[in-house]
Symmetry: C2
Subunit: 388 residues, 2 copies
């Protein structure tokens, strides 16, 4: 990894709170872990950049070179195209209204793959491709677990849609996402979810092939299944996004350890309510998001776990309440409320990295291997892509 | 109200979805309703601009002239100072680290009032004021209902803090916020919450006065109590923020009607899952926020209620699921799922306007009195203030 540029000799004690922090060492370790898995499984890794939405973070994914990525918005696709990325999957069902921006990217030489799961969408993609005189590579979304969009592998529409796309020169392949794996609470359940995800994608690809339709891409993935898959025979690529930062939901599933979490939010203690057992901070849901993903897990982490500014856990303390610009920290059952004077800075580990990162314009970057001090040095400031 | 400038001859059918919409007519009506109440109650209205975070929306508050406002971040204070506002209350407990920005605003001639509830904060405010040679007007936060920060009106520290501030020339007054009124489910409970809020603020002011300390500002308010208060004797100003847009939480409390909601998010249907009874849209939690405020109310509205593009309710339909860029619409018990083809645009009314607005860079402005069409004309685009 290239050392990020030093922008200013400041530390996490300097910017006004709240602000988001990325530990580049942890992000890099998380990235390398999944890259090794993908190598071992013999598939291309196509990271989803919707969590970090940052060209700087993405530069860690493929050793600094633009590689294949997945995006959740056309704003991301456009920003990554500007950054030199030429192989992008837009993994939200396509809307006809957005096709002009898709075609503009294709004309710039970006292989922008779109997703769809209906005859209507296949028809308007085929028509737009014909009118524009460009192939619009399209993937058929497959539903492997009843989570969201997609066709069941055995759906009667599958081959029809494949045929419409193929005749227009637009059939790229199939894509599925095991969204329900976020509720797979044991390693065995996660392995089963990964197997099921693979089976659904491969079955759909085989049905299309049996109908004489060429299927290039067979794409699967979610952070839990990407880390659980044991055999991806028939799959060409693996997607995952959250894994770069990880979060308390993923730690609760056992996909990572709490110490792997690369994203946190720095807040300041602004008050105490000893009569209620509360410490009040200046980081509310505007800084953390309203996401309470761990509320359905065995260990509910409230709005987040608390670290000191150096990154050491403050045991027994959790962020349990949030209003717009106020956070409430309380002691867990049996723990004492620590003595944290007004002005103390803390770091909060989030439930859901995608949602918390989205509340910020960018990241203050630290490297926990270089910063043994109480206030780690800020190595860089990385901007986020926003909007749609 | 001055007509907002026309920026382009576009309608809500034109921008790519999702995007946020403000109905300026509804916002204006909501603003006028509370302004009339404040007049009748004989108090100054100091709207909280944290919901809209927009100078354009704020221009509706005081007939286009900069009037007193409340802010939740120094970024808002600075943007409003740039916009000519000179009377601003920063209603989050002050942190010593933020005082340089406070003092810079005071030196620009902005009366920026800060909030605190501890001797430590009073001491560092007094010290900073002394060092800078400027008075830092400070309000003591009073806890009226155990919601968040503040001192009980009878707290032993109250007079000590008042004295520290007074000796430094910084004592401005007291402020309280009936945050628990968001859980006052009947008009009678809301009236009681408003009476209690007033009583707490006035009692604190009287205790300070009895100790020989001058109290100028006696500030109360929340959207529910501002609309329920019947007598504000002893109070000098009323604060509320959410009321400009209102939302489903406020409608659930009966503070407004669903038809008063001024903020919505335009989304597009991108798929159907008839086997599950789902309509899938391109508006997920990134567009709506993760806020589920109505989940604790009698009528849980999921992630929001559904309108057609013109603003008419689509009966029996609610947004019940959200992932980052996908929304799931389902029929309520007993209702049929309407036939909404791929490409149909809808508008979603949010649970919590503050949280939903925060997911967007700005607002596409319509006027429901001018737009009887299926796709209302966009009158203007108004930007939001972001960050801290």
């Amino acid at each position: 990894m290239a050392a990020p540029p030093l922008v200013a000799p400041t530390t996490l004690a300097d910017p006004d709170t709240p602000f988001a922090v990325v530990d580049v060492h942890k992000a890099q370790s998380n990235i390398e872990r999944l890259a090794r898995r993908a190598d071992r499984l013999g598939v291309t890794l196509r990271p989803h950049v919707k969590t970090a939405k940052s060209l700087d973070v993405a530069a860690l994914l493929h050793g600094g070179a633009p590689g294949p990525v997945t995006v959740s918005t056309l704003a991301e696709a456009e920003a990554f195209a500007d950054g030199g990325y030429t192989d992008i999957t837009y993994a939200v069902g396509i809307d006809a209204h957005k096709l002009p921006r898709v075609i503009a990217l294709l004309r710039r030489g970006v292989t922008l793959r779109v997703l769809l799961d209906s005859r209507e969408q296949a028809a308007f993609v085929a028509e737009a491709a014909h009118e524009a005189g460009v192939a619009v590579p399209a993937q058929i979304e497959i539903d492997c677990d009843g989570h969201r969009g997609g066709l069941k592998p055995g759906s009667p529409e599958l081959v029809d849609i494949g045929r419409i796309l193929h005749e227009a020169g637009c059939l790229d392949g199939v894509l599925t996402h095991a969204g329900e794996s976020y509720f797979a609470y044991t390693p065995e359940e996660q392995r089963l979810a990964a197997g099921n995800e693979r089976d659904a994608a491969v079955a759909a690809a085989e049905r299309l092939r049996a109908a004489g339709l060429p299927v290039g891409t067979v794409s699967v993935g979610s952070t839990p299944t990407a880390h659980a898959a044991e055999d991806l025979t028939g799959v060409t690529e693996l997607r995952a996004g959250n894994y770069v930062f990880f979060d308390l939901v993923m730690a609760g599933l056992g996909v990572c350890r709490v110490e792997d979490l690369a994203l946190s939010v720095v807040v300041t203690v602004i008050g105490h309510r000893p009569e209620y057992g509360w410490i009040i901070t200046d980081g509310g849901w505007m800084a953390m998001s309203r996401d309470r993903g761990t509320s359905v897990q065995a260990q509910d982490q409230g709005y987040g776990l608390v670290l000191d500014l150096a990154g050491n856990p403050v045991p027994g303390l959790a962020m349990t309440g949030a209003s717009q610009e106020h956070g409430t920290l309380t002691a867990r059952a049996g723990a004492d409320l620590p003595d944290l004077p007004v002005g103390t800075r803390l770091r909060i580990l989030p439930n859901h990295a995608c949602a918390t990162a989205a509340q910020h314009h960018g990241y203050h970057v630290i490297d926990s291997t270089r910063s043994a001090d109480t206030a780690p040095a800020i190595q860089a400031i990385w901007e986020r892509i926003t909007g749609w």
